[in-house]
Every structure is written in C-alpha cells, then in structure tokens.
C-alpha cells in the first residue's frame, strides 16, 4: 500500500520534471521562435505598463512646485458682468469676503489681472512674435500665498516684467529682452514658475507691478481680480466641498453684497489635472497602441504556434508512444508558451516602468523631478492577464488538437494534408507562374494567410492613424505658426510617443511577415524542389514564395486603410482632416512592397541548394 502511494507521488514529480526537460530542450532548439514569441507579447505589455506607469509621474513636480511657491489650494477670480466683462466693486467685495470664509487659513491678493476674461487679451510684441498674453499685477515683495519661484533673473522691479517659464521657453523670451505690452516697453527681468496657473498653452502669463497691470486694462479688456486662498484642509474632498459651498453661484459668503456675481473658484486639483493633460494625451496614445500591439501580437504568436505545430507532430507521437496521456501532450504545448508569456509579461512590465521617466520629462511650468512611476498591483495583474491571454488564445486549439491526434499518425509525421479549394486551383492555373505558385501555397495554409493579412491590417491601421495625426498636427500648427502663434511644446513629445508606437507596430509586423515567409519556405521545400526539377526557374519559385506572402498582404493593407482612418477619427477627435491621398496610397503600396522585399530573403536563402540535394532530403 505504501509502495503504491510512493510511486504515484513520484509520478507527479516525474511528470513535472519531464515537462521541464521537454520545455527546456524545445526552447533550446527553437531559440529564434521563442525570442520572437517573447518580443511580440513584450511589445504589447511594455506599452501597456508605460501607459499605466505614467499615472504617478506628474503629481510629484506639481507638489514640489506647490511647496516651493506656497501655492494656493483655491484660486478665486472675481465675478464680472457677463456682457461687458467689467468687474464691479460689488464683485470685488465678494471676492475679498472669501478671505474670511470658513476654512481659509491664509490668503493673498486680490491682484489685478488683465486679459484673462476670454476676450482680446493684452498684446505683446517681442523680437520674434506678436501674441496675446495675460498680465497679473503683483507686489514687489513676497506674497503670503503663491509667491512664484524665480528660476532665472529676479522678481519684479519697476519697469520690469517676469515671464512664466513655460511661456517664456515657448515664446523664446530671455532675460534682458525688451517687450512691449499694448505698446508700452518693458524689460524682462526674471523667469518664474507658479502652481496657481497651468502653463502654456492654457495660459500665457506675465507678471508686472500692480500699477502696470491696472494701466493695461482697456474698455475691451477690463480688469479682473485674483485671490489665492490656502485652506486648513487641502484634501481633494475638502477642497471640492469648499468650491461647492462658496463658488460659482451657490452661496454668498458672510457679509457679501447680494447683487454681486459670485467669484469663480478653481481648486488645486483642477489645476494639477490641467497640468497633466499632456500625460493624458500620451496615455491615450499608449493605451490605443497597446490594443493595436496586442492584436498584432496575437496574430504573430498564432502564426508562430501554427508553424511550430507542423514540426512538432513527431514529438507528440513519441510522447504518446511511450505512454504520455493526452493531458501531458497538451501540457507540453501550454507550459512552454505560458512560460514564455510570463517572461514577456515580466520583461514588458520592467521595460515600461523604466521607460516612463523618459516619456515624462519635467515640464517647463513646474519645478522638481518627475515622481517615480508607479508599479501598482493593477498594472502587474493586467500585464500578466494580457500576456497569458494572448498565449492561451493562440496555443489552446493546437494543444487540444495535438492531444487528440492518434499516435500512429503523429509518429508517421503525416504532414497535414494540404487543403484543396477547387475555385482557387482553377483560378491559379490561369495565372502567370509565380502567382500560380503563390496562390497554391496560400491555399495550403489558409489560416496562416488570414493571420498574416490580419497582422498587416493592424500595422497599416496604426500607420495610417499615425500619419493622419501627424498630418493634422502639421497642418494645424503650420497655420498657427504662419500667423505668428506659438506651438504647444507638448505636441512634439506626444508625436514622438506616437512615432515610437508606430515603429513598434511596423517592426513586429515585419518580423511576423518574415517568420510566416520562412515557415512557408520550409514547408514548401519539396514542392519547390519538384517544381525546379520540372523546369521552373529559381526566380519563378522565389517569386512564388514571395507572392504567397504578398497575396494576403494586399487585402490586409487595403483593409487597414479605412480602419486606420476610423481610428484617427476616434482617437484624434480634436484634429480634423486627413493626410494627402498620396501619403495613404504610399502607405498601402509601400507596405505591400516591403512585405515582398522582406519575404524574398527567406525565399532566397531556402533556394540556394542544388535541386538534387533538395529532393533527396524530402520524403514521398
């Protein structure tokens, strides 16, 4: 009795050891394929992790800026007449009354501000540009709340102005330069950052003395006032409740006159959110990229596994012949691929996490290094889930099929009898020889052709969407630049993220195409040799092998075009228009040509041996 139990126990360990050995030896023999498998899945998980990792990145600089400037928890702006934009004394009184509202522990202001009410704005001329700006008047001394931190030069002096840093960098304004505001000249004496306003392009902010600010007000552009408040409880909940209580028309503060338009309250949470807009754009691109890469990875991995199954039938037969159960056979497939998926997930997580700082360069409008990107549990779980799902989806069916195979047929390594499609056969006869070969090769492995087409479609989809976004941005900012406007510096960076994703898609699709071509060349060795023996030229056979990849690539590329345009419309909703038709046609045609070029490499390699040799190594 004990002995029986003992052997069964050994059985479990023995099987685990066997699985481990089989997996290890198989991986050793098929290194390139294992690498491609891991790369495909890792691409998707890297981009996914990157998207997640950016979550924690911005909060740090914002917090540091808050600390460095003693930034406000609430920025209150005086209400004004909705038609004239004029701030009445009653409006101003309502603003001042907030200083004593419940929960406020410190305040600064009210400061005069011009150009902030959404109308014309103050006109600024510099050496390079003409643009409209907001001007906030400040005391020369230190404010109690929100004292902008000077990063270059000094704080305000009579006749001098201080420029907000992100605007200064975008508008190319330096210390010592002279600018004019509404015609009046001033010297740039300093550059500073603040947590009270978002940076360019939301605001183009310049600080001057209070007197200057007042003097810049016009009928068209009346004066308004800003107060900076600090609360005892600055948690988001408390801040929101303060805004709900006192702001935006809900309740008058104690002692305020009744006819005033209530002040507009902007909590720090909203400002911080606005500051991280660029990150959200990047994240949007990255999540979309993840989906595309995930789909592409699925197609690539399915092609890989499909190619491997053809080689692996004999191994299956051996396992079964020595007593392996169908379960064991299925396990050998699954364990290997799940292991690789795990490696890919871990690799992708690490890569994405480490790459996050590169994507999140510190912004000009905030000081402080970006925070460490977050490596959360959610991120890990999602990345693992994606990787395992892709691996499982592509491996499950072949694994079950292998498990069900009869031992005899597996040992005989009877190659899967190529499917025959009457219509394709009849069509192929009428085509020139390379197309004849190509179409027949496609007909042999229709599943692989569909997967290849799908991977090309996804790649072209990403390419077209990216080109459309690039073109739309170029057009938009060509227009802006030509009229003397300024370009959002975050845009080129978002474009870089987009380019990186597009390049990843293209590379992965290329690798898949090469692998599919290589698998086809190997499987078609005998047919190629026989065709050569019958008098086909090597060139014809090579072209045929390339055509076998081009034929699925064409509908894939064509399908990718409207899909990509659709993606662009969805993803880039604030952009309009399309790239020139020429670009789109070039993208589709270019893809097909690239596929043809790439796949001619395995074709050329596979055809180098003399015919006699090729024939002799193949069976009947």
């Amino acid at each position: 009795m004990n002995q029986q139990r003992g052997t069964r126990h050994h059985g479990v360990n023995g099987r685990a050891l066997l699985l481990g050995r089989l997996t290890a030896s198989d991986l050793r023999h098929h290194v390139a394929q294992a690498v491609l498998f891991v790369v495909a899945i890792a691409a998707a998980t890297t981009v996914l992790s990157l998207a997640f990792a950016l979550n924690g990145v911005n909060s740090n600089p914002y917090q540091q800026t808050m600390a460095a400037t003693n930034g406000p928890d609430i920025v209150a702006q005086s209400g004004n007449d909705p038609y004239t934009g004029v701030t009445s004394s009653a409006d101003l009184a309502a603003l001042v009354a907030l200083d004593h509202a419940k929960g406020v522990v410190a305040h600064s202001g009210p400061y005069p501000i011009v150009g902030d009410t959404g109308l014309a704005g103050v006109e600024m001329h510099s050496t390079y540009i003409v643009t409209s700006v907001e001007v906030e008047g400040r005391e020369i001394g230190v404010a109690a709340v929100d004292q902008p931190k000077v990063t270059a030069g000094t704080w305000l002096r009579p006749g001098g102005v201080v420029i907000e840093r992100s605007f200064a960098e975008t508008a190319n304004l330096h210390l010592g330069q002279t600018i004019t505001l509404n015609g009046h000249p001033f010297r740039v004496v300093g550059v500073a950052v603040t947590a009270a306003f978002g940076g360019f392009p939301g605001n183009s902010l310049i600080w001057t003395t209070e007197a200057t600010a007042r003097s810049l007000a016009t009928k068209v552009d009346p004066l308004s006032y800003i107060s900076n408040l600090k609360l005892s409880d600055a948690s988001p909940r408390a801040v929101n409740s303060f805004v709900n209580t006192y702001g935006n028309g809900l309740q008058q503060s104690k002692g305020g006159p009744v006819e005033a338009t209530p002040p507009y309250l902007n909590p720090w949470t909203a400002i911080a959110y606005g500051d991280s807009g660029f990150l959200r754009t990047d994240q949007a691109f990255l999540f979309t990229g993840t989906v595309l890469l995930g789909l592409l990875a699925l197609a690539s991995v399915a092609v890989l596994v499909g190619g491997r199954l053809a080689e692996g039938t004999r191994r299956v037969g051996l396992l079964k012949a020595v007593g392996g159960t169908p379960g064991l056979v299925a396990a050998t497939f699954l364990v290997e691929n799940l292991f690789l998926a795990l490696v890919a997930a871990v690799g992708g997580l690490l890569a994405g996490w480490r790459a996050a700082p590169l994507v999140s360069k510190p912004e000009a409008d905030l000081v402080g290094a970006p925070g460490a990107p977050s490596l959360t549990l959610v991120m890990v779980v999602v990345a693992l889930a994606v990787a395992l799902a892709v691996a499982l989806a592509s491996t499950l069916v072949p694994a079950i099929r292998a498990a069900r195979m009869s031992t005899v047929s597996a040992l005989a390594d009877a190659p899967r009898l190529p499917r025959r499609r009457e219509s394709l056969m009849r069509l192929s006869r009428k085509l020139p020889v390379p197309a004849l070969f190509g179409l027949r090769l496609v007909a042999r492995r229709p599943r692989r052709a569909v997967l290849s087409a799908a991977s090309i479609a996804v790649a072209v989809m990403g390419l077209v969407a990216a080109l459309s976004i690039h073109a739309a941005i170029d057009k938009k900012f060509a227009h802006v630049a030509s009229s003397g406007g300024l370009i959002n510096p975050e845009v080129p960076r978002a474009e870089q993220v987009l380019t990186a994703i597009t390049i990843s898609l293209v590379i992965l699709a290329a690798l898949t195409a090469i692998f599919a071509a290589w698998a086809t060349v190997l499987e078609a060795r005998r047919a190629s040799a026989v065709s050569l023996a019958l008098g086909a030229t090597p060139q014809q056979v090579r072209s045929g092998l390339a055509m076998a990849q081009v034929i699925p690539a064409v509908p894939g590329a064509i399908l990718g075009l409207p899909l990509g345009i659709g993606l662009f419309k969805i993803a880039g909703h604030h952009l309009s228009g399309l790239p020139p038709v020429l670009w789109l046609v070039a993208a589709v045609l270019g893809t097909v040509f690239v596929v043809a070029a790439l796949t001619s490499v395995p074709a050329w390699i596979g055809m180098r041996r003399p015919v006699a040799e090729m024939l002799q190594t193949e069976g009947a």
């Binding site: 009898l417 190529p418 499917r419 025959r420 056969m425 006869r429 009428k430 020889v433 004849l436 027949r440 007909a443 042999r444 005998r526 047919a527 040799a529 026989v530 065709s531 050569l532 023996a533 019958l534 008098g535 086909a536 030229t537 090597p538 060139q539 014809q540 003399p610 015919v611 006699a612 040799e613 024939l615 193949e618 069976g619 009947a620």
Partner: protein, 249 residues
Amino acid sequence: MNDSPTVLVHAKGLRKDYGSGEGLVRALDAVDLEVSRGEVVAVMGPSGCGKSTLLHLIGGLDRPSAGELSVAGQRVDGLSERALAFFRRNEIGFVFQAFHLMDELTAQENVELPALLAGYSPSEARARATALLEEVDLADRVRHLPSMLSGGQRQRVAIARALVNEPEIVLADEPTGNLDSASAFQVLELLESLRAKGLTLVIVTHDERIATTADRLISMRDGAFVDETHLTGGSSGHLGAFADWERLS
C-alpha cells in the same frame, strides 16, 4: 539549323565531388557515356555507387565538378541555373522513385504543370495532360488526388507528367523502387510501350527485370562504370531449356 542529333547524351570525364579536403566524397569518377536516340540504357549498382548522381547530372538537376556534358545537342555543364531550368523544362522528363506528385493537385493538374511552366495556355496544357493520362491508361482517374491512387497509378501519373512537354529523353531514378511487384509490372509494361514508340530512356534501377528491358546495361561501383552488357540480339530459344525434359526421375 541542326537536324535532330542522333547522340542525345554525350558525357566525357564527368566527375562529381561533394565536400572538400578531409570530407571529400567523389560520387562520380571520370565517367564517359554516350546514349543514342531511341536507345534504352539501364544503370545498376549498389547504393552509393553514383548512379543517381549520374542521372541528376544528365537531367540538369545538379552540376558536374569536372568534365563535359552535352544533352540533346546542347552543352549543359556550363549553363546558368536559369538556362538549366529551361533545359529541364523542354528536353528532359524526370521520373522519381518517390513519385514527387503534389498532394493537393489532381492527376491532370499534376501532369499539366510542366506544360504551364513551359508557357502553354491552360487549355492546351490540359489537353496534353488528358491525352497522356489516356495513354498511361488512367483516363478514368484524371480527377483523382494522389492519395486516392495506388503506388503504381501514382508512378504512371508521374510518367505522364514527364512526357507532357515531349522531352528528348526520359530519365527514371528507381521508378519501381517504392512499388510492389504487381504495380512494378504495370510500370514495366508502360516503359516497354514507350520504348516501342521510340523514346530514349535512361533508367537507374536495382530491379534486374527492369534493367533487362534495356538495350544496354551498365554496372557501376564507387562512382565508375565496371561493366557494360549489350542485351539486344534475337531470341535465342532459351525458353525450352527451363523445362528439364531430359532428366529421368
């Protein structure tokens, strides 16, 4: 304009080496051979003696390492791969031991393939294929896939395929090697009928029965010819000798 040459194969000093240095294998060692139009030559020998190599060289499937080779009036040993392909297409019909039919093509699609390669229109190619399949007595199986044909039938399809472009010479490498004796007999009969029509044939075989249908039987060993037997000659009335009538019980 050359009229059709009477010597279809002219090989002089033909040599084929594989590998180099320590691993050099001399598959063929300075072989001379001439085959005339309408002749049937059989080549026999133990495995590894180079008979298949010789056939591959004549058929343009491989290049000699040294020596001269002319087939159907054309110098073959110096041709480019592309030119060799044209040569194979038009002048040679090859029959393999393993048949090498395409599994997913029907009999007639298999047979018409060289014709399509040679540029015949699909209808012309199909017509030729049908005619040849009739000739090899498979007219009722033109739409069968190879998996539905017996070994002998498959080889007959392969022979029809070899003939579709009206080659000058048919090369057969162990055509009955994978067949049982009944199927081998069918193939034998077919080859006999072809030879009666004047086809030039070089057959590599280890089946003495096939070999003795030839006009000339060459034995090879270690890459060289060791014997040549002429088999033509009138019936010598030997057959009666097989009934041993003289012996007393």
